[in-house]
Symmetry: C2
DNA sequence: GATATTGTATCGATACACCAACACACAGGA
DNA sequence: TCCTGTGTGTTGGTGTATCGATACAATATC
């Protein structure tokens, strides 16, 4: 069961959110060569999204060379995955952290208040995760 | 001169990015009642975006009661500016925090490591801020 | 071969961003 | 008083992207 979280309200297209998250799973080795991805219908149902949206994400990932598909069989991680380095991970996350911090600051949340919020969200995420496993 | 930054690549619709940032400017008092917003064409040129995109953002903000428009005159911040309640702020930030956490988790960062990163970024932001003031 | 499972193709509704032409408000001169 | 120019927001139309619904085609399994 992949841990993927899609937001309907943040404006980023669903297929793009999905594509990015799968990319990260591959990049960090949580999905490795020859691992099987869920069938489009299954993942679609899990994410409460149209199968075509998953198809779109899979297609983009295939074009990027990260996965390959075999009709009737399934979708698999290809061997050529090029995981991000630790440094790249930090850079990616730092960008997100920065936009969170800027927005928090604009809304009157200081650092400690923001950190507390992140902690709360983390607990909430864990709770959801447990419930679904 | 409003300093607003739109990203063409993060997937969020331009009008929505614009709308959110103006909302924040109002929420934090950088724009206050009766302040005049730039004409749609001017802001559009500044942001290198179509005037209609600004129109869209202004329209949404007007429907939210945050600004009002006078044809031939301009666009102004309305007096009733109550952009966000404390609850709404939390909800907004919680969404950002969630996407950060999901991405962090996917990239192999646990909670504590993520919090440490956020702290670092905050320090870095402060340093930049000092430099530019 | 028959059937289930998987990905694929096509179409429609809606949203986004752009472009061009329009309509209103105001100021200043005839 | 009228006209006209400039500045403002407004309206309608086009192309592309997103997302969904449905029917299709290839492969695996028995």
């Amino acid at each position: 069961m992949l841990h993927i979280n899609l937001s309907q309200s943040d404006g980023v297209p669903l297929y793009l959110q999905l594509e990015r998250q799968i990319k990260q799973l591959i990049a960090t080795g949580r999905l490795t060569a020859e691992d099987e991805l869920p069938p489009v219908r299954v993942l679609a149902q899990q994410l409460v999204v149209n199968p075509q949206t998953v198809v779109r994400a899979y297609r983009e990932l295939e074009m990027a060379g990260l996965i390959y598909k075999r009709r009737g069989a399934g979708t698999y991680v290809s061997a050529e995955g090029t995981p991000y380095t630790e440094t790249e991970c930090r850079r990616l996350l730092a960008e997100r952290a920065n936009s969170l911090l800027v927005e928090a600051r604009n809304l009157g949340f200081d650092l400690e208040k923001t950190l507390a919020l992140v902690r709360e969200c983390s607990i909430e995420l864990d709770r959801q995760k447990e419930g679904s496993e």
